[in-house]
């Protein structure tokens, strides 16, 4: 099958593309909408907002989530806020500026037309959420408050304390719940999607497994929407939830959907560091702490003295030294790499040597304990709870952690993947953040896709396509179901002696070391071999107890890890083929003299779309050249 | 009637009826207590008070019936809610600790049930003058009847215990009624909690004081 990545970007001026496209799109008559069944996989911001909106319009919608309730999707954990070009501050914000900041923040590896549309609909998102009752922070006058975030010079971030993701998701979940009550949505919880069914080249269904009863079931649909989030848990330790996985997108990839830029991952600089082998999860400390915390390590290697015993002259405030104008507030990718560098030099602190100090001593002296408590009390408590250390008395210790994945299934301007009828929304697609995502933009994208983009582009697909009648008796469903069942049985039949977690941890460690904050050709090549061996070992020695007929969390995990063992190889291959450094992708071979990322716009200004050719086989690279008509490409500098 | 049955279909409807009838009974408990203090003033004063209540106030029977209705409704709703609560957790925890449950709140059903029994005995004692032994003399006055009962240490003791149990019931019930009626808030709740305890204490001590005094007086 000859794949060409046609983004189907509408012609015309950047500011008019979306309106023009909406007008030119085909519509579906309200009376005909109920004839279409839409399968929505994942109920986070993208999934819940899409499902609710489509159901309101009259489509028949089925939603699927592996959690026990749609409300628990991991969007719920987003802390900071959501961007929108409302310009309520009168500080020079505009749709164009949000567009510009996002393109630049993404290090010029995102598609202009998509990003501009994102900036355009951002304003409608805030309106919608407020109408739903999302309790955004307000000022005493009763109007909405804003804060500023990294990578921008305007205050355009709307927030609800440190729980913005939770409140936005509960808003979308409430809209979803209303449609469930009205019978417009059939909600399937504790249900995992294990395959996509393609009939005559179009996505026409999914195969699911119920995580309680173990029942494997076929679902027919006229379109499938994957809203399944990112794949940071490929690193095992990440800030994502334990259940986050790549399974749905990976299996779609194996069915023909092109995977784009898998190596673009975001490592967040301020997470609580790893404490030991049994750790399962990394917890984020909000980026906002960098406003008042000074980051440092001892100047000497292996300095085991306590922080308070190290005199001022022997401390290295490395961010302030290296980036005098941005100091502790450099963007996420830069701060993360700098922390790794000093730890690699042997100057990291803590028992593992894998952390740096974020010190509030000077701020406490300057502002007093009370002000610091008011600003950061919650975070300090959380840190104290997890580590047993009080940041008021000793410096916090932080380290970068995998957080978000910009890569995902390739989609065109309509959010449709290379499989017609298979749409991909939110973090699961690759489209809007390029090589690095700005803070408070993930929530914006998820809701933009779900509330305001897919209702138009899906109608256009239905309106412009003649869909044949298909039912679940179609052989394609039978084949997919058999594949799923065989795979489950194969996992159960290994009966080896290694736990699923031990494989996941080994894979995660290898990926973190070689395909994490910085990468090089040698490490990536070695890791591809490592993964291949680990995959063989998995299929020969993994131990999954129990059977597939009732609750079996180990079986669920094993299926996900098996997919990661295939997917991680693609990540490494993508990283290996991109011979430049940009955003979250830092290739050690491609850096400037003072160790900054060196982008290569001449040769790598493209989206890397990968076509699946079989497990362990070299995938085929398809390039979508990125054209910048509006933004001038420049080198990012934070000195 | 249809309206009431719709209202009581809701658990909160039941709670509200429970609260209103409970508050009615709380008022009665206080009025009854202050009236009873006349027992300590003397026979003539107390009998005069009883006479006014029963013979001089027109429609007093209606008040009595209202009171009886309060008791019945309170009991009925209480039992219905208790059944619902029991069904809501058929299997108990092996280990369960409490953070805030008070003596009053955890014993409402028991103290309530006890109080029903007490009430029957109390009415037999005083209102119908049937216990400890039936008195048929129609001219006997209320003071004498009361004194005859409370003069006996065992009966006096029974009344003291019952007063304390009632106090415990009310120490939670008084607050609870306000909460059920929606009269509570961040500022009011702590005050209500204290008020309820004081109220329970007043009831327990007040009635016990009368019982002890009468025992001392007539032994």
């Amino acid at each position: 099958m000859g794949i060409t990545l046609d983004a189907k970007i509408p012609s015309g001026n950047i500011a008019d593309k979306w309106d023009k496209h909406k007008f030119e799109s085909k519509l579906v008559n309200p009376a005909n909408r109920r004839k279409f069944t839409v399968l929505v996989v994942g109920t986070g911001l993208a999934g819940a907002s899409a499902a609710a909106t489509l159901a309101e319009q009259g489509y028949k919608v089925k939603t699927f989530c592996f959690q026990d309730s749609p409300r628990r999707a991991h969007s719920i954990a987003a802390q900071g806020g959501i961007n929108a070009a409302k310009n309520y501050r009168n500080d020079g914000d505009s749709v164009y500026r949000l567009f510009y900041d996002t393109i630049k923040g993404g290090d010029y590896r995102a598609r202009e037309a998509n990003v501009h549309r994102l900036a355009q609909v951002s304003v409608n998102i805030i309106d919608q959420c407020v109408a739903q009752g999302v309790p955004f922070a307000r000022e005493y006058g009763g109007y909405l408050d804003n804060r500023s975030f990294g990578g921008t010079q305007v205050a355009r971030t709307f927030y609800a304390a440190g729980q913005t993701g939770q409140q936005l998701l509960l808003g979308a979940y409430s809209a979803l719940s209303r449609q469930i009550e009205q019978g417009a949505i059939e909600s399937h919880t504790r249900t995992e999607v294990l395959d996509i069914v393609v009939v005559n080249g179009r996505a026409r269904g999914i195969i699911t497994r119920h995580l309680i009863t173990g029942e494997v079931k076929r679902h027919m649909g006229d379109a499938v929407l994957l809203c399944t989030g990112g794949y940071s848990t490929v690193f095992f330790l990440s800030t994502n939830a334990m259940g986050c996985n790549v399974t749905a997108t990976w299996r779609a990839h194996k069915k023909g959907a092109v995977f784009a830029n898998p190596c673009f991952t975001q490592i967040h600089p301020t997470s609580i560091p790893v404490h030991g082998e049994n750790q399962s999860k990394l917890t984020l400390m909000s980026e906002g702490l960098r406003n008042d915390g000074r980051v440092w390590v001892p100047k000497a290697k292996n300095d085991k003295r306590r922080a308070e015993d190290i005199p001022e002259a022997e401390r290295d405030y490395y961010l302030e030294e290296r980036y005098p104008s941005f100091g502790n507030l450099v963007p996420r990718d830069v701060a993360s790499r700098a922390a790794k560098k000093v730890c690699d030099e042997g100057r990291g602190v803590g028992s593992s040597g894998q952390s740096v100090y974020m010190d509030f001593r000077d701020s406490i002296k300057r502002l007093g304990k009370q002000v610091i408590t008011e600003k950061y009390g919650n975070l300090f408590d959380m840190y104290h709870k997890i580590t047993g250390e009080n940041p008021m008395e000793q410096p916090m210790r932080i380290y970068p952690a995998p957080h978000y994945t910009m890569g995902g299934l390739w989609v065109d301007y309509n959010l449709m993947s290379t499989i017609p009828g298979l749409f991909v929304l939110g973090e699961a697609n690759f489209s809007d953040h390029g090589a690095n995502r700005l803070g408070a933009s993930a929530l914006m994208q998820g809701l933009a896709d779900g509330y305001f983009v897919i209702p138009y582009t899906l109608a256009n697909y239905f309106g412009a396509t003649t869909l044949e009648k298909v039912d679940t008796q179609n052989p394609a469903f039978g084949d997919a179901e058999n594949t799923v069942k065989e795979r489950l049985n194969r996992i159960l039949s290994v009966k080896g002696n290694r736990t699923v977690d031990s494989f996941h941890k080994e894979l995660g460690r290898a990926m973190w070391d070689n395909c994490g904050m910085s990468r090089n050709a040698e490490g990536l090549t070695k890791t591809i071999e490592h993964i291949s061996k680990l995959r063989d070992e998995f299929w020969n020695t993994v131990r999954v107890p129990g059977d597939a007929n009732y609750v079996n969390p180990e079986l669920e995990k094993a299926g996900r890890v098996a997919d990661f063992l295939e997917f991680s190889e693609l990540m490494c291959r993508d990283a290996l083929s991109r011979n430049e450094s940009c955003g979250g992708h830092f290739r050690e071979e491609y850096q400037t003299e003072d160790n900054e990322a060196r982008r290569d716009d001449e040769n790598y200004c493209y989206v890397a779309g990968w076509e699946f050719n079989g497990v362990g086989k070299e995938p085929t690279l398809h390039k979508e050249q990125l054209v910048f008509d509006n933004v001038k490409l420049t080198q990012r500098s934070y000195k | 009637m249809a309206y009431i049955s719709r209202f009581t279909k809701y658990s909160i409807g039941k709670k509200i009826i429970m609260g209103i009838s409970g508050l009615g009974l709380c008022v009665f408990a206080l009025v009854h207590l202050s009236g009873n203090f006349l027992l300590l003033k003397g026979q003539a004063e107390f009998n005069a008070y009883a006479d006014i209540l029963h013979n001089k106030i027109p429609g007093f029977v209606a008040v009595e019936l209202g009171l009886a209705a309060c008791f019945i409704v309170h009991m009925w709703m209480g039992i219905s809610l208790a059944i619902q609560n029991r069904n809501a957790r058929p299997q108990q925890y092996a280990v369960k600790k409490s953070n805030t449950t008070s003596l009053g709140s955890s014993t409402m059903a028991y103290t309530g049930t006890y109080f029903i029994l007490f009430l029957i005995i109390h009415l037999m004692n005083i209102k119908f003058a049937f216990l400890p032994k039936p008195i048929v003399d129609p001219s006997i006055d209320k003071y004498t009847v009361t004194a005859m009962v409370l003069a006996q240490p065992a009966w006096s003791f029974f009344y003291i215990i019952s007063s304390i149990i009632l106090g415990i019931h009310l120490s939670h019930g008084f607050y609870s009624a306000f909460q059920s009626l929606g009269i509570a808030g961040e500022k009011t709740t702590p005050k209500l909690l204290i008020a309820a305890r004081i109220y329970g204490l007043v009831i327990a001590v007040g009635y016990s004081y009368i019982a002890v005094s009468m025992l001392m007086l007539h032994r």
Binding site: A77, S174, I180 | Y10, Q84, N87, Y93, V95
Partner: protein
Amino acid sequence: MSASTISVTLKIWRQKNPQDKGHFETYPITVSTDASFLEMIDQLNGDLIVQGKDPVAFDHDCREGICGMCGAMVNGYAHAHEKATTLCQTHMRSFKNGEEIVIEPWRASAFPIIKDLMVDRSSFDKIIQSGGYISVSTGSAPDANATPISKIAADHAFASAACIGCGACVAACPNASAMLFVSAKISHLAHLPQGRVEGKKRAAAMIDRMDELGFGNCTNHRECEAACPKEIKLENIALMNREFLTAEFA
């Protein structure tokens, strides 16, 4: 971090499925004090799998105290003994060496046990479906700043909206009542002008659904408030009662 270990005895409720009667099983374990409570169960499960035994089933996901998926009764307390802390955020350093730790699932007829510590909380979703929302379709919203909302009201709404739907309130309530959960949603929306429009209908519908699902009643023990990891206030229940009263009489 003080990387020391403690040895504890776990007494865990094991129940194969809803039909099984269930029983306690005892497991000794030595664990780092830096481990979270769920990491301690992970460690136990790793050992059980290698020994060819059935690992303990428990719900969990975000492990940062916000998704509401985890929860169990630990030594008689919902989400263990630490105040305002979910089970995933509880760490082993708050237990003593040699301690016996009894772990049971939430118990309520409205939360039937699925397996071991896993329970079915879909009744919470059903309550929200009955009316826990503002009926606004996408696209029909006015400008976000069109209606000013006092900061105090917005803050109150937020405090109630912080509920994570974990079910600890039901688990801790001596009557297995869901009133804190229900009232938190009613109160969140009642504090906002856009939520007032269908306020009456909402309160009646949600309370009705809650009753249907077999939850118990509030008898004002205030155990729910003490157990809530997000410190949702009991006053919400009073507010819900007021909403109900005005729905009926006003």
